[in-house]
C-alpha cells in the first residue's frame, strides 16, 4: 500500500514538473508553445469527460456539444457583452452547465450504446444552432472579431493577449484548479458512490443510492468542466466555429481517455498529449492523416484497451 502511495505521489510530481516547465523545453523537442496550450486544454476536456466515462461508467459520445457551448459562451460574451476574459470564461462555463442540467433528466434513464447515441443526437441540436443561426453565431464562418483580453489583477496586468507563454500559464492555473476540484469530488463520499455505480449499478441501487440523480450530477459536473475547457480553447484560438460542437469531436475526446487510461486519474492527460501531438504531426506529414488517426483508434481498442497508464500499472504490479 505504501508502495502504491509512493507511486501515486511520484506520478503527481512528474506531471506537475513537466507541465510547469513546458515552455522551457517544448521548442527543443521540435514543437511550439501553442501546441502545449492546446494539450493542456484538451487534457482538461478529456479529464472532464473521464469524470463521467471512467469514474461513473456512463458512455457519453456527445460531450463536444458542451465543449462548444463553453467556447461560444465565452466568445459571444467578449464580443457582444463585455470585453473581459474572466467574465467570458464564467459565462461560457455556466452556459455549458445549464444546458447539461436541462438535458440531463431526459437521458439519465438510458444506458450503454443508447445513452451514447442520444447524447450524440442532443449534441447535434447545439451544433445546428451554431451552424445555422448566422446573425448571432456567425454561422459556418465562425465567430470572429473578438480577442482574449489581458487580465487585470488590480496591482498588475497579465498580458495573455500577446504573450503566448503568459497565456500558457494562465491556462495551466485554471487547469490546476479544475483538476484539484475534480480530484476532491472523486475522493469525497459522492465520488465513492459514483464508483460504486460504475462497478455494480444494481447493487448500488439496492443499497439505497439514487442512481439516476447521481448520474445526473456526474453528467452536469463533467459537462461543466468540459465547457470550461471549451472556453479556454476559444481563447486560445481567438475564434470559435461550429465544428467544435460536431459529434466527431466527441469521439476524439473519448479516444484520449481510453488511450491514456480511463481508470487512472492522469490517464486522460497522457492520452490528450499523445493524441494532440500525434495528430499535429500526422496531419503535416501525410495527406492521408485520417487513415492513420483511424488506425490509432483501431490499435488502441484491439491492443491497448487499458491505455498507456494501464500498461504502466500492469508492469508495476507484476
Amino acid at each position: 500500500m505504501g508502495n502504491l502511495d509512493l507511486r501515486k505521489q511520484s506520478t503527481n510530481l512528474i506531471v506537475c514538473a513537466l507541465l510547469l516547465t513546458l515552455p522551457f523545453w517544448i521548442d527543443h523537442v521540435g514543437s511550439y508553445i501553442q501546441l502545449g496550450t492546446q494539450i493542456v486544454v484538451m487534457a482538461l476536456a478529456a479529464m472532464a469527460l473521464n469524470f463521467l466515462l471512467g469514474y461513473t461508467g456512463v458512455l457519453s459520445f456527445g460531450h463536444a456539444a458542451y465543449f462548444g457551448l463553453g467556447a461560444y459562451g465565452t466568445g459571444m460574451t467578449i464580443r457582444y457583452l463585455l470585453p473581459s476574459t474572466g467574465v467570458g470564461i464564467l459565462v461560457g462555463t455556466l452556459v455549458g452547465a445549464l444546458a447539461a442540467a436541462v438535458i440531463g433528466p431526459m437521458i439519465v434513464r438510458l444506458r450503454g450504446v443508447y445513452f451514447a447515441m442520444v447524447t450524440i443526437a442532443f449534441g447535434q441540436v447545439f451544433y445546428f444552432i451554431a451552424f445555422r443561426w448566422n446573425d448571432v453565431t456567425g454561422g459556418d464562418d465562425g465567430l470572429t472579431n473578438w480577442k482574449r483580453m489581458p487580465i487585470d489583477l488590480g496591482f498588475t496586468t497579465v498580458d495573455i493577449q500577446h504573450n503566448a507563454t503568459a497565456f500558457y500559464y494562465f491556462v495551466l492555473v485554471i487547469f490546476a484548479v479544475a483538476v484539484a476540484l475534480m480530484a476532491f469530488l472523486l475522493r469525497s463520499p459522492f465520488g465513492r458512490t459514483l464508483i460504486a455505480i460504475r462497478e455494480n449499478e444494481r447493487r448500488a441501487r439496492f443499497m439505497g443510492v439514487n442512481v439516476n440523480f447521481h448520474i445526473w450530477m456526474s453528467w452536469v459536473i463533467s459537462c461543466t468542466f468540459m465547457a470550461l475547457a471549451g472556453s479556454l480553447s476559444s481563447l486560445l484560438n481567438n475564434f470559435v466555429d461550429p465544428r467544435s460542437l460536431f459529434w466527431t469531436q466527441s469521439g476524439t475526446f473519448v479516444i484520449m481517455c481510453v488511450m491514456g487510461g480511463m481508470r487512472s486519474f492522469w490517464g486522460p492527460l497522457v492520452g490528450a498529449a499523445i493524441f494532440v501531438a500525434l495528430q499535429d504531426y500526422l496531419s503535416s506529414a501525410t495527406p492521408n492523416w485520417q487513415s492513420f488517426v483511424g488506425l490509432v483508434f483501431v490499435i488502441v481498442v484491439l491492443f491497448f484497451p487499458r491505455g498507456v497508464m494501464g500498461i504502466f500499472r500492469r508492469k508495476a504490479t507484476e
Binding site: 527543443h28 451552424f131 459556418d140
Partner: protein, 421 residues
C-alpha cells in the same frame, strides 16, 4: 501527391537522417532552425486536402508544386531554393485552419503563407497573417471582404471577388434566361457575398429576386429546396454551390427536369464540378475564371502539357492556375523587392502586372494597388455535354470579359489598408 507523403519518408536513409537531426537538435537546438531557415525559403500552404473541397485543393497543389519546380530550376528565390510546407486546413474547420496557420508561421517560420479555398478560412488565415505580418496569398477563396472591407496590406488574392464574378456573368444570364431569379446559396461567407453581388448586378440590369434559400455546406440532398425553387416560378434558378455541393445540386436539378422547365445558371463554375456531373447535367450559363483551352494565348499549350505530366494526364483547371500563379506571386514579390521583408514585398506588388507566361490570359492580369486584388480576364460561356477533341473540354467560352471592366471600383470595395509605419 498522395504517394510522396508518408511512406516515402520512411526509407532507411531518411530515418538515419532523422536520427542525425535529432542528435544535432539535442546538442545545438536553438541554432537548428536558424541554420535551416538560411538554406531554403519556406512557403506555407494551408489548404483543404480532405472534405468537400479536397479535389480543388489537390489541383491547386499541383499548380503550386509545378511553380516551385520552375522557380527552383531558375535558381530559387533570392538565390535560395524554395520548399513547400503543406498542411491540411480541412474544408470547413476554421479553428484547424487558424491553428495550422499559426503553426506554419510560428514553428516552421515560413516566409509566405498560402490559403484558402474556403472563403471563411481564407479570411481567418488572413487575419492571422496580418497579426504576424506575413506575406499572404489567397489562391481561391472568393468572398469580397478578403480584399474588401476586411482587407490587409499583406494579403493578396489571385482568384476574383464574388462581386466581379457576378458583374461578369449577370448580363449573360439575363440575356439567356430572363430577369426573375431564385437563388440557392451555400450558407457561408462565399455564398452570402456572391448572392449579394448577383442581386446587385442583376438589379442594375433590371433583374429581380423572386426567392432564395441558404443551404449548409456539405448538403447532399437538395430536393426540398429544388421543389421550393420551382414553385416560385422563376426565369432562372441561380446555383451558387461549389465543389461537391455543386455536383449534387446540379445533378438533382437536371434529374428533376428543371433545365427544361426553367433555366439553370449561376456565377462561378469549375471544371472539377463539370467532370463530376453526368453529361446531361452539364448545362447553364456560367463564368469560368481560367480555362485551359485558349488556342490563341501564347504559353497556355505548354502550361497544359506540363500539368498533364504531373496530374496523370488531366488538364489544368482554374484551381491549378490559381496555385501556380500564387507561388509565382511570392517569388515575384521577393524578386521585385529584393528582400523577404513582408512590407517591402507588399509595396513592390502594388499595381504589379504578372508576366504573360504566368498570367496566361488574353489581356494579362495585374494586382490592383490599394486592394491587392488580381484583376484578370473572366470567361463567360456554357458547358457542353461531351468534349469534342478532348474529353475534358467541357466548357465553351462565349465571351472573354476583361476584369478591369467588371471589377467594382476601389471605393466600392471599401478596402482600407492599414500599413505598418
Amino acid at each position: 501527391m498522395t504517394k510522396d507523403g508518408f511512406t516515402s519518408r520512411l526509407d532507411r536513409r531518411t530515418l538515419l537522417k532523422a536520427g542525425a537531426v535529432i542528435g544535432a537538435a539535442q546538442i545545438a537546438s536553438p541554432f537548428v532552425r536558424v541554420a535551416r531557415a538560411a538554406d531554403t525559403i519556406k512557403i506555407g500552404v494551408d489548404n483543404p486536402l480532405t472534405g468537400t473541397y479536397a479535389a480543388l485543393g489537390k489541383n491547386e497543389g499541383i499548380g503550386m508544386a509545378m511553380a516551385v519546380d520552375e522557380i527552383n530550376a531558375k535558381g530559387g528565390i533570392l538565390g535560395r531554393q524554395v520548399e513547400l510546407s503543406i498542411e491540411d486546413s480541412t474544408s470547413g474547420d476554421a479553428s484547424t485552419a487558424v491553428a495550422k496557420a499559426r503553426k506554419l508561421i510560428d514553428r516552421d517560420q515560413v516566409s509566405f503563407i498560402l490559403g484558402n479555398i474556403n472563403s471563411a478560412l481564407a479570411q481567418a488565415i488572413a487575419n492571422v497573417a496580418n497579426e504576424k505580418s506575413v506575406f499572404h496569398v489567397v489562391p481561391g477563396g472568393h468572398t469580397d471582404s478578403v480584399t474588401g472591407s476586411n482587407c490587409h496590406w499583406n494579403t493578396f488574392r489571385v482568384c476574383n471577388t464574388t462581386q466581379t464574378e457576378a458583374n461578369a456573368v449577370a448580363g449573360a444570364v439575363i440575356k439567356n434566361a430572363g430577369k426573375k431569379w431564385y437563388y440557392l446559396t451555400p450558407d457561408y461567407a462565399f455564398g452570402h457575398t456572391l448572392q449579394a453581388g448577383m442581386e446587385k448586378a442583376a438589379a442594375a440590369l433590371g433583374g429581380t429576386k423572386v426567392g432564395g434559400d441558404l443551404t449548409p455546406l456539405g448538403t447532399t440532398d437538395f430536393s426540398s429546396y429544388l421543389i421550393k425553387a420551382q414553385a416560385a416560378n422563376p426565369d432562372a434558378i441561380i446555383f451558387l454551390q461549389q465543389g461537391d455541393d455543386g455536383v449534387n445540386v446540379l445533378k438533382q436539378a437536371v434529374q428533376f427536369g428543371l433545365d427544361k422547365k426553367t433555366h439553370l445558371a449561376g456565377a462561378q463554375l469549375e471544371l472539377e464540378v463539370l467532370l463530376g456531373l453526368p453529361p446531361e447535367a452539364r448545362v447553364g450559363t456560367w463564368v469560368f475564371e481560367w480555362y485551359w483551352n485558349q488556342p490563341n494565348v501564347p504559353g497556355v499549350k505548354e502550361f497544359v502539357a506540363e500539368v498533364r505530366k504531373r496530374s496523370g494526364g488531366h488538364v489544368p483547371t482554374a484551381r491549378t492556375w490559381f496555385g501556380y500563379a500564387s507561388i509565382h506571386t511570392c517569388a515575384l514579390a521577393a524578386a521585385q523587392a529584393n528582400s523577404l521583408d513582408a512590407v517591402k514585398m507588399a509595396r513592390a506588388m502594388q499595381g504589379f502586372k504578372l508576366p504573360p507566361e504566368i498570367a496566361l490570359m488574353p489581356d494579362g492580369a495585374y494586382y490592383r494597388a490599394g486592394q491587392n486584388q488580381l484583376i484578370p480576364d473572366l470567361y463567360v460561356g456554357h458547358p457542353q455535354a461531351t468534349g469534342k477533341d478532348d474529353p475534358e473540354d467541357l466548357f465553351v467560352v462565349d465571351q472573354v470579359v476583361n476584369g478591369a471592366d467588371v471589377s467594382p471600383t476601389l471605393e466600392e470595395t471599401m478596402c482600407k489598408q492599414d500599413w505598418p509605419a
